[in-house]
Amino acid sequence: MSDKQPNIQPGRLDKETVESNFSDLHPPLQSSEARIEAERCYFCFDAPCTTACPTGIDIPGFIQKISSNNLRGSALTILTENIMGGMCARVCPTEILCEDACVRNIPGDKPIEIGLLQRYATDPIFENNTPLFTRKPPTGKHVAVVGGGPAGLACAHRLAMLGHAVVVFNQDKKLGGLNEYGIAAYKTVNDFAQREVDWILSIDGIEVQTDMALGTHFTLKDLSDEYDGIFLGIGLGSVNKLDIPGEDLPGVENAIDYIGKIRQSKDKTTIPVGKNVVVVGGGMTAIDIAVQSKHLGSSAVTIVYRRGPKQMGASTFEQKLAQTNGVSIQYWAQPLRIHGKNNVAGIEFETTNVDQNNSLSVSGDKFHLNADIVFKAIGQTLDNQKLGQELSNLSSKRGKILVDQTQATSMPGVWAGGDCVLGGNDLTVSAVQHGKIAATAIDRALGAPPDG
């Protein structure tokens, strides 16, 4: 393999093109469109869409309120169940959740655009910073929430509503977790993640301490000494390794870090991007980095996934999105080694298949892809280096924290939710539900009556 300098540079496209590439993926509905779309809803009994929503939003209920132009009521219906209903309207894979369950699919009709309607109903709340929730009288109880991502914020908000005093410890400067650092920019334009965070915090009763990481700046012991309850929404701080030769070469990047870099940059033409980009993995993160690389001007972007389109974590919609944006997806191949002397030059794959038991095996056919950058997007895991000591007292399984149905961990007084727990599924909406359930459980544990 040659060892010429990798072709990585910023500004492959002019600013105007890049801005247009990073504009809203799903532009919001106009009011006439929303009314017509709302009218298409059948207002199902025991609606399958609601059942399919991890947070159980009363979807026909909020849609009926759009139809009657009761937008405040509609937003309240949504945000009562899902405080991040604004972000979820943008990033939820509705095509595998609520919209997949829509009964209009059964005769082959187009499902209701639930995500877009949810955005239509909630946008005015964030635009005008309209308060919708009030706090119960103070309980005098203090709860520490570790992690200011979707799980932590959902938990904090619900706890604040219930009258508890909450402190959120966040390791990053900005709250929002992956909403802020881990999602493609075109899914949440105009700094929406921060506007949502600001609105959530406006309920009062939530103190935020940034640049505070568990295991670095404080310990669980510190918290349990000081607080009546602890919620861990610490996400997954470490990226899974490929464990192949060449992985340490410059140019091998964690997709999630790069996504964060793109999100945080004011001028996206300043972000260096490779000419040839290879993404290893099959989830939303793989799609997000691949499409954004393309949008920044990479000429060849290939996602390589070791199984087929059906097994891919990214939905069919996301796969198509990547493909229509010029990304090629190579299914059934896994990486063997990364080539290059001083930098990445290419990556070699071996094709795969599955036997009857669905276990993966290699077929022996090999191929090579030139790459200036290789992105790793094969999932994340708890950062045991930082947290090992802290988490040693919590039961865990497959590298994730074990919780019960109320999100309680094995350690009394400690609850957890979001991606860091077993059963977390990398979705904002699921993390919010965990936070919500945990808040109710914490409230009970702190003495609220069962129906309180």
Binding site: S32, R35, E39, Y42, F43, C44, D46, P48, I106, P107
Partner: protein
């Protein structure tokens, strides 16, 4: 191709669709455009005495919109023509000359004085118009002055004015009835007995469209004050059909020719009116919403329908549904239907279940053996047709007659002989057979 030619009171028109007396027939310009588009006839906007009335210069119309902005109900507070009588008469004369094959009827509204009728009717006839329509239906404005619906609501007044008109008229006289009455038969009969050649119905219905949610005034208003207007459009069709059918099915009035009006928007509405006894049709709101071009679908659709039915002209269709219309007391109480859900078409929305569960007879399941499944419980179903009505999938739920065996709901055997209320044992007034 079926023949759409209509002969109504001896007045021939190439199709049965006339534009009703209203803004679309206010002047020659509009009428020329209507005839160019293919309309069979017009009823000229109502003429009155000079000096002409004055209309408001603010909103004359109010609308009931569906969420997709489809206009399903409409109302107006416009009065009769506000142009000088002679202008109208001149234009009518010219139109009739230019369009000899089209029906030109002139609507008329005059005070309750015989000599006034005697004065104006010949002037109108002199234009060459084919017929007169007496506006006893307009429910706003003019009714406050003792005309329009103020006449149509009192059979004696209908009778008086109709006979004054008939005394001098040589051309056919149609009496236009107001629906703002509890029973349409006495006004219809009064018109007939006074010599009217036909009735036309319905005129518009007293209505207020809504309030303005910002100002909390009624909407629309004229400088902050509003008044009730006449309601029309698709939403009023069922009311009109009932009134047309009442006249068509009752012995005393069954021979009275009817020009059917009220919400006709497409050819299917025309079929409704014709089958329920109308001999001729008038349209206004649909034209005001979509323009005159809708005549293409009205005529084409009706013609295709007649062809499919093997009917050669509209007269084959007129009144064909009337034998199926009766009083409640004559309905067969031994007849049993049950709803049936076609599981292949069911999309699992559950609307039938919740409608029946909350508001009717708890006769549709929501789950069977722990899975989402909607199925009619024959032992509870009274055959009410609610589920069929709310089901979003056409043809998914149908009503099926139970012709033998046991009615699962009552446990009684299905009776094949008919039994109506007049004979029913529970009826204290039952007729002895």
């Amino acid at each position: 191709m079926a023949d759409l030619t209509c002969e109504f009171l001896g007045i021939r028109s190439p199709n049965p669709f006339w534009l009703a007396s209203a803004p679309p027939t206010d002047k020659a310009y509009n009428v020329n455009r209507a005839f160019e588009a293919g309309w069979g006839g017009v009823v000229w906007k109502t003429l009155g005495e000079d000096p002409p009335i004055v209309n408001v210069n603010g909103p004359r119309y109010g609308a009931l919109h569906a969420n997709d902005r489809r206009l399903i109900g409409f109302n107006n507070i416009e009065l009769i023509t506000d142009r000088p009588l002679q202008t109208n008469l001149d234009e009518i004369r010219q139109i009739k000359k230019d369009w000899p094959d089209r029906a030109v009827i002139v609507s008329l509204m005059l005070p309750m004085q015989e000599e006034i009728w005697a004065k104006y009717v010949p002037m109108i006839e002199d234009t060459g118009a084919d017929g007169l329509e007496l506006n006893f239906g307009c429910p706003h404005g003019m009714s406050e002055r003792g005309m329009g619906a103020a006449v149509g609501q009192v059979p004696e007044y209908i009778s008086m004015a109709t006979s004054w008109c008939k005394n001098v008229a040589r051309i056919p006289v149609i009496v236009k009835l107001t629906p703002n009455v509890t029973n349409i038969l006495p006004p219809a009969k009064a018109a007939m007995d006074a010599g009217a050649d036909a009735v036309s119905l319905i005129n518009t219905i007293n209505s207020i469209m809504r309030v303005d949610y910002d100002t909390l005034q009624m909407h629309p208003t004229t400088d902050g004050l509003g008044t009730h207007g006449g309601y029309c459009g698709e939403a009023v069709k069922p009311i009109a059909l009932h009134m047309v059918a009442e006249i068509a099915r009752h012995n005393e009035t069954s021979n009275l020719p009817i020009s059917g009006i009220g919400g006709i928007t497409d050819w299917r509405d025309a079929v409704d009116f014709l089958a329920l006894g109308a001999d001729n049709l008038q349209v206004c709101t649909a034209a005001m919403i979509y323009g005159f071009k809708i005549i293409d679908d009205l005529t084409d659709g009706l013609s295709n329908f007649l062809d499919n039915k093997g009917m050669s002209s509209i007269t084959d269709l007129v009144g064909s549904a009337i034998p199926s219309v009766t009083d409640w007391q004559y309905l067969n109480l031994n007849y049993v239907e049950k709803a049936f859900i076609d599981q292949d078409l069911c999309i699992q929305c559950g609307r039938c279940h919740i409608a029946c569960e909350d508001t009717s007879h708890q006769a549709i399941t929501c789950s069977v053996d722990g899975r989402r499944h909607f199925e009619v419980i024959d032992a509870e179903c009274v055959g009410c047709n609610l589920c069929t009505s709310v089901c979003p999938v056409e043809g998914c739920i149908s009503m099926k007659a139970v012709s033998d065996g046991i009615d699962a709901r009552t446990g009684n055997p299905i009776q094949t002989e008919k039994l109506n209320w007049t004979m029913h044992p529970n009826n204290p007034m039952k007729k002895v057979p």
